[in-house]
């Protein structure tokens, strides 16, 4: 078995340890004997998108995000088809915002997004920063997902949320919802990075990729003691 993990714009979208998510996916595959190739996709390295089995899009600075937007625009349709077909995608922060219709900046100007989804993000006063704990809507065990959020934009949508906010702000700091799920595409504000401390979510994405490619129904288990120790520590320090 072999998986191709596409790391989208590793040179432009990589904030707050996002790289750790790719490291985590790669390692967890390798520990199970699954061959992995991590493919960097960027301005100077365009490779066929439809060969990817699992996609990761990280967060970036405003400048980085603008460069990515104008480049990725021509792949919008292909990206949309992949998502519709059930390819797992993890999009964090800036990557999450990018998949939506538009970003309304601090001056009220519309900055277009790829428009794969119909949601929008608005820049509002003050950044939402801090440790975040949510209860996932994917039915994963344990129920909690932990991370660190740091975003100025507020996202508003009617899709299924990734989870309910227990501690922190989430999508917009108002409706207690965090992230978005459509098919196997997950958008979220959880950095941290998200996957190493939430191995149940990492395995969910890996399994979805293997299911799509090989019809696999189950993953072998790993010793996740260090992963859950770090997960538990966040709960211990920051639960109400």
């Amino acid at each position: 078995m072999e998986l191709k993990i596409y790391h989208m714009y590793p040179d432009l979208l990589n904030l707050y340890g996002d790289l750790g998510n790719v490291t985590c996916l790669r390692q967890r595959c390798q520990w199970r004997g699954i061959d992995v190739e991590v493919v960097g996709f960027s301005m100077n390295h365009e490779v066929p998108l439809d060969e990817g089995d699992l996609f990761f899009i990280g967060g970036g600075s405003d400048r980085g995000q603008n460069i990515v937007y104008s480049h990725l625009l021509k792949y919008t349709r292909m990206m949309g088809d992949l998502i519709e077909d059930g390819a797992p995608v993890l999009a964090i922060c800036g990557g999450y915002q990018l998949l939506g219709e538009k970003y309304i900046d601090a001056d009220g100007n519309d900055v277009p997004g790829l428009g794969i989804f119909d949601y929008h993000t608005r820049s509002e006063e003050g950044r939402l920063i801090g440790n975040i704990i949510i209860e996932n809507s994917l039915g994963l065990n344990p129920e909690t997902l932990v991370g660190f959020e740091n975003h100025g934009g507020r996202t508003y949508h009617d899709h299924q949320a990734l989870g309910k906010v227990k501690v922190g702000y989430g999508n917009n700091g108002q409706d207690s919802e965090e992230g978005m799920v459509y098919q196997n595409c997950i958008g979220t504000y959880l950095h941290g990075p998200l996957l190493p401390k939430n191995p149940h979510l990492a395995d969910y994405l890996i399994l979805k990729a293997l299911e799509r490619k090989y019809g696999l129904k189950e993953l072998s288990s790993l010793d996740d003691q260090p992963e859950y120790a770090a997960h538990e520590k966040v709960l211990k320090l920051y639960s109400p």
């Binding site: 040179d11 990589n14 340890g17 490291t23 405003d62 950044r127 801090g130 740091n150 190493p196 538990e232």
Partner: protein, 474 residues
């Protein structure tokens, strides 16, 4: 008018007294090394107190940037102190306005020959409102504490804007494109740097800004020395390293010491030995040397002072125990951690290590930066017995090591720092490396010292708890 003056004086003296009392309570009763709190109290009573500091220093130097501020500040102050009787400096690394004021309260004089201050990137604007520097030294810009700044671009944009109105000479790291871009302010610019040497590489895992600060094209690099510091040029607009006024041209590592060849403006060469590891210290050393020469000190004397320099603040500081050396190195951001790991790689002695990862506000509440560091380089280090992980987020650093491919059986988590240090010191090794984050460094140092002196053996957990609660230093 007369009333006003005496009222102002009254406020000033009240501020000084209150600051002194806070300092006394912290130092003597709580045995704390908090260095910002006295200044904070004094500034609440007399907000203009930084202006008093400004007026009392004849000449002022501000050091800012992400990494190397504290080392460069200590080194430069050490050099200047040998030539001038009174130099005021915030040597302990408390680098927000209150930290500068604390340093002044601690050593209050009517007049100083020099004021040398390290100033946090986020505080640069607030400090320079009151304190007008003759020289501003900018070291580098890396990602650090993004939970405070949001993005790296913001930190240097703020400094750039504050610099515009200042009448000052800029001493700039020519090898950092983000720093050398300050040339566009058209101040009097002095450039320092480190040329390509045997430790330079052609590849770099962490590059903060691959894009030309002048025109946003992809920058070409001939070599990297440290992060995005290296030899760069822009194929589109020609933006490249400016000519050096001062430079280190050769670096050799021998007997756990670094040997540099330094060249001044007149192309005079000087050999310099520096006891502190890492390419980042070559930059720190070059920055301090360049500034000292720029203010008019002679090269041979400055070189001699540098060789005599000894660090006491947990930045690659050495402690000699029976049978082993304990070395403390502060790690607080991705590039610093990557570079520290690279320099430990050169040390082939039998060793154990202890990481202390805290997430207090002064460390940055977001510990995700450990994933941006090249921890994978740990696998190249020879002769590691054990790696202990401690601090509030001990489990996070242990997890990072696991995903870096470090064998889990080498790693042990103990989130009580006191216990972890005890274990580290009991290791049968030649050298023990202790790598704490900012809020752990002074405490770790005190715990090591207490054992070295054989007194006080162990700090009680109550005191450790109190220390974690107290005012952050930055």
């Amino acid at each position: 008018m007369g009333f006003k003056i005496s009222y102002s004086k009254f406020r000033y003296y009240s501020a000084v007294t209150a600051g002194k009392i806070v300092s006394f309570v912290l130092r003597k009763i709580l045995k704390s090394s908090a260095s910002a709190a006295p200044g904070k109290v004094a500034m609440t009573i007399y907000p203009d107190i930084l202006r008093v500091v400004n007026d009392r220093c004849q000449k002022k130097i501000i050091i800012t940037g992400t990494n190397g501020k504290t080392t460069t500040n200590n080194l430069l102050t050490h050099i200047l102190t040998r030539e001038y009787p009174s130099v005021l400096s915030n040597l302990r690394g408390a680098n927000m306005p209150q930290g500068l004021v604390s340093a002044f309260l601690h050593d209050r004089k009517k007049e100083y020959d020099w004021g040398v201050f390290e100033v946090d990137e986020g505080s640069f604007e607030r400090v320079t409102e009151h304190l007008k520097p003759d020289y501003v030294l900018v070291t580098n810009f890396f990602r650090d504490q993004l939970d405070r700044y949001g993005e790296i671009e913001k930190a240097f944009q703020d400094i750039l804007e504050s610099l515009e109105s200042l009448d000052t000479t800029l001493i700039l790291n020519a090898d950092d494109p983000l720093v050398s871009n300050f040339r566009k302010l058209h101040k009097r610019n002095i450039y320092y740097g480190v040329t390509q040497n045997q430790y330079s590489s052609c590849q770099q895992g962490i590059v903060e800004s691959r894009f030309c600060p002048a025109c946003s094209s992809y920058l070409d690099y001939d070599y990297y020395n440290y992060g995005q510091l290296g030899g760069y040029q822009c194929p589109d607009c020609g933006f490249s390293n400016p000519d050096y006024d001062y430079q280190i041209t050769e670096i050799n590592y021998q007997d756990h010491q670094y040997h540099y060849q330094f060249k001044n403006k007149n192309q005079n060469m000087q050999d310099i030995t520096f006891a502190y590891e890492g390419i980042y210290n070559a930059y720190n050393c070059c920055a301090a040397l360049s500034t000292a020469l720029e203010v008019g000190l002679p090269l041979d004397k400055v070189a001699h002072s540098i060789e005599e320099f000894e660090y006491h603040l947990g930045r690659m500081e050495n402690f000699q125990f029976p049978g082993k050396i304990v070395k403390i190195a502060l790690v607080k951001n991705p590039i610093g951690l990557s570079e520290t790991i690279s320099s430990i790689f050169l040390d082939e002695r039998e060793k154990s290590m202890l990481f202390v990862l805290n997430d207090n506000p002064a460390d940055g509440k977001d510990v995700s930066w450990i994933w941006d560091a090249e921890v994978e380089k740990m696998n190249n280090i020879k002769n590691i017995n054990h790696i202990y992980c401690s601090g509030r987020r001990a489990e996070d650093i242990a997890l990072r090591l696991k995903y870096a491919g470090v064998p889990v059986e080498l790693v042990e988590v103990d989130d009580k720092m006191d216990n972890a240090i005890e274990k580290l010191l009991n290791e049968d090794v030649e050298i023990a490396y202790l790598l704490p984050t900012y809020t752990a460094v002074f405490q770790a140092r005190e715990l090591v010292l207490a054992r070295l002196e054989g007194s006080g053996k162990k700090m009680s957990h109550i005191r450790e708890y109190l220390k974690n609660l107290k005012f952050p230093g930055r």
